[in-house]
Symmetry: C2
Subunit: 500 residues, 2 copies
């Protein structure tokens, strides 16, 4: 048996444990009865500790080292070289976190999540704030274990966006914020009213469910290797390229949430469903970073799913599901309604233009919490001030303010910026795709995305984690990530929607 095969056997074991954790987590949100909460936290804690301890053992390190020597000089882009490259970096980073920390933080996550749910339900920030303190302590501890050169936030960010620098993201976001706030003001000054009342009518959930299956299939999601379920906070979970699950949510009085959550999650799923079959079962059969993953979901949700061409082609089909609600609605009207700019208190309901501001707000607060320039009890105030400054609105309660997201229960510090990075990546990729193959734009005008999907598969999806996000963006667009493509995209689009 080769050293490489021995390494694969070990890594497969670790991966099988991690996949079990993903099913336990997916199940918690989709099927688990309320009574199962405490036991489930215990189960996930045990599996997390075991998989971490197996992965970070000295033996795994030796297996990586021996396989690396055995494969010395092999082609950089080969699966073998890519796996070794990924593991060397990932293993070193994982080794920095003790088993005890993994177990303790998993347990605290479970309890913080329960407290967050209760706090939201009672709209009482004080129920959650002691747990937020614990979570911040865990985040700080983590950044110390991992270590950093410039900014403790780098250590947290790199878990989700390997190699990214907080200072670069801050500069990107500052530039984006300036341009987007400017564009947002132009839209507001236009004082145009877009009538979207037809979206707010009774749409039977049964039919929305059927339509969600249809629209996910239409953009290429494969149900033979997928599953669509319902969740309060939609998410996607990939076990392997052969089992990539999505969730969506249904509001019987509002059509948009199910359509756009489905397009978003199916966009995520396309990434892993289209990974090179040769990578199956290896840790490379995944998105290479959270930002790149988000680029695929935002691309399908917005650049495709909120485009005029797409709905020119798709509206007749949608009307067949909801004739009474939509027979009088034309596609121009539909297009404008789903692109209506309106400041929203809730991130996941925000339009494309204001969405990034929600993320930047969280990014700023996270950093302030981490460097202790902001105290936990002052989060609501800091939140509301920024909402006022960025979007001119203020949350009337905690539920629609700083208690809306689950991320701060999950030691998910460092995750939020990847949402905005996703938008920037998506626009930059789309520009590159269209300049490489202009037929993509013509097709999209007819509601077709075959060429776009082909391009995404060939340039992004198939590689999985073989290359870093930085490598991919350079390979594909010829330069580093910038905010410019997104600003160009948004300016063109909202000029069209609002006649600027």
């Amino acid at each position: 048996m080769t050293k490489y095969q021995l390494l694969l056997d070990r890594i497969n074991e670790v991966q099988d444990l991690r996949k079990a954790i993903r099913i336990l987590t997916w199940d918690r949100e989709v099927n688990m009865p309320p009574g199962g909460e405490l036991d489930r936290t215990n189960q996930i804690t045990t599996l997390n500790r075991l998989s971490h301890s197996l992965y970070t053992s000295d033996e795994t390190g030796k297996l990586i080292e021996y396989a690396d020597k055995e494969l010395n000089g092999i082609d950089y882009a080969s699966t073998e070289a890519s796996l070794i490259r990924f593991l060397k970096q990932d293993y070193q980073q994982a080794r920095l976190l003790p088993d005890e920390y993994i177990a303790r933080s998993t347990l605290i996550n479970g309890r913080a999540t329960a407290a967050w749910k209760e706090a939201r339900q009672k709209d009482d920030y004080s129920i959650f704030s002691p747990w937020l303190k614990e979570v911040i302590e865990l985040a700080r501890e983590k950044s110390e274990y991992i270590g950093f050169q410039d900014d403790p936030y780098d250590a947290l960010l790199n878990v989700y966006e390997p190699g990214a620098k907080t200072s670069d993201i801050r500069a990107l976001f500052e530039a984006a914020k300036r341009d987007l706030i400017h564009l947002y003001r132009l839209v507001r000054e236009r004082k145009a009213t877009i009538d979207d009342r037809f979206l707010h009518q009774h749409y039977p959930v049964k039919l929305q469910k059927e339509y969600s299956r249809y629209i996910a299939s239409t953009i290429g999601y494969d149900f033979n290797r997928g599953h669509l379920a319902t969740a309060i906070h939609p998410f996607s979970t990939s076990l392997s390229r052969n089992d990539v699950r999505i969730t969506t949510r249904y509001n019987s009085e509002y059509l948009s949430p199910s359509i756009f959550a489905t397009l978003h999650e199916a966009g995520h799923a396309l990434y892993v469903q289209n990974v090179d079959p040769g990578l199956t079962r290896t840790p490379l059969a995944m998105e290479t970073s959270a930002g790149l993953d988000e680029s695929q979901s935002r691309l399908m949700e917005n650049i495709v799913g909120r485009s005029l061409g797409f709905w020119k082609a798709q509206l007749p089909k949608l009307r067949k599901y909801f004739p009474a609600q939509l027979s009088e609605v034309g596609f121009e009207q539909f297009y404008k309604a789903i692109n209506k700019v309106q400041p929203s208190l809730i991130r996941v309901e925000a339009d494309e233009l204001t969405y990034n501001m929600h993320v930047i707000l969280r990014f700023e607060i996270e950093q302030a919490l981490l460097n202790q320039s902001l105290a936990v009890q002052d989060v609501p105030q800091a939140w509301n001030e920024r909402m006022k400054k960025f979007l001119g609105i203020e949350p009337p309660d905690f539920r629609q303010g700083c208690l809306q997201d689950i991320h701060w229960t999950l030691v998910g510090f460092g995750y939020f910026p990847t949402y905005a990075l996703g938008n920037l990546y998506a626009a930059q990729f789309f520009e590159a795709a269209c300049s490489h193959d202009p037929v993509i734009l013509d097709e999209l005008e007819e509601g077709k995305i075959d060429r776009l999907l082909e391009w995404l598969r060939a340039n992004i999806h198939q590689h999985g984690r073989k290359f870093t996000a930085e490598e991919i963006v350079h390979q594909v667009t010829g330069g580093p990530l910038s905010h410019e493509a997104f600003v160009r995209y948004a300016t063109t689009k909202f000029a069209k929607v609002y006649g600027l």
Copy 2:
């Protein structure tokens, strides 16, 4: 930290892995897309091997030994003493199976299951038979690892029914077979026709789903600690007393399957949902044997769920769900229809009287396969001959014959007899319950089961695995398991239904 606590920590770890396996298995039948099959087999194999190796390590043995010494002389019925007693026996037995065997048999199970599905679909026994050979080899190997005194089948049986002897079961079944075939002949000679056509009409699945939730709650199933899903072959899965899941199936043209599968699975679930909360997270928070578990499901499905009193009370409610289908049906008519005796090719659709014959048939074939007096290629013939002899009917194809059950893909040799044991236990328990508290019978005549549930909780459910099945049956009924209570029950019941 006490030695006992150290032992608990280790066992909790093992249990968390086993619970993850149960979720992976449950998910495979309920949610998993077809493409996920191979990966899932790998995941379950890894977790099975890891949990087995952790459990059977020398260290676990020492932890049991030290805790046993520490607790020396503690009350037999205490949780601590019961856990040590259970673990000493269970650990020794598990140690007999090598990790390599566990991994290999899990993999073969996965592949045999896939072959069985294909064989059923194509109605081609030859696709499955090579895998059945492998499964028999595994079963034989297992019985050699475990060891036995009289009969190699004992070793397999004891995995599901600890302490049971094949020779005792053979004697029980011979006696039951004689009496039941006699009773069956009397019913056939009566030539009474029971009209059950009203059960075979269109019953919308949506309403059947709502009714299934209602009827499960009615017999005490707690949805706050449970979940009802759909599966082709209904089953139940318990993770802890706080998460006990059931599945059922729906036939839009036939009402009985969903009602009786739901009552059956909810009956299983009541056992674990009512285990003493002090046992939560220990391996004692489970049914003590497969036969005892089956006694609870058959009790709810048949003794309660096919009784006249229950439907006197419940039929008006059922009519509210299905007024067009049932408004003309009286409860006597309903009672007779759901108790119609009719030889069936399919075990899970069999009436109460002929059901045990299906089990005895499988028990006989399993033993013949194991002791090599029957060759794999002759199974269809052996099957059909027995069907003819026991019930006077013959399967027209494999699907309705020897390919109907999943058990022979699961190295589940030794499991089938527990289905018939369940019927015998159920009748014996019910007699004991009624003689202890005659109000139970009066209540049942009014469709109420509060006192019965109370008795089951106090005498069976709460103990979980603290006592063996043999101990429970002695404690509760004052003697060993016998076929007599069941024969008395069946004779009385079918005399009533058929006016014998």
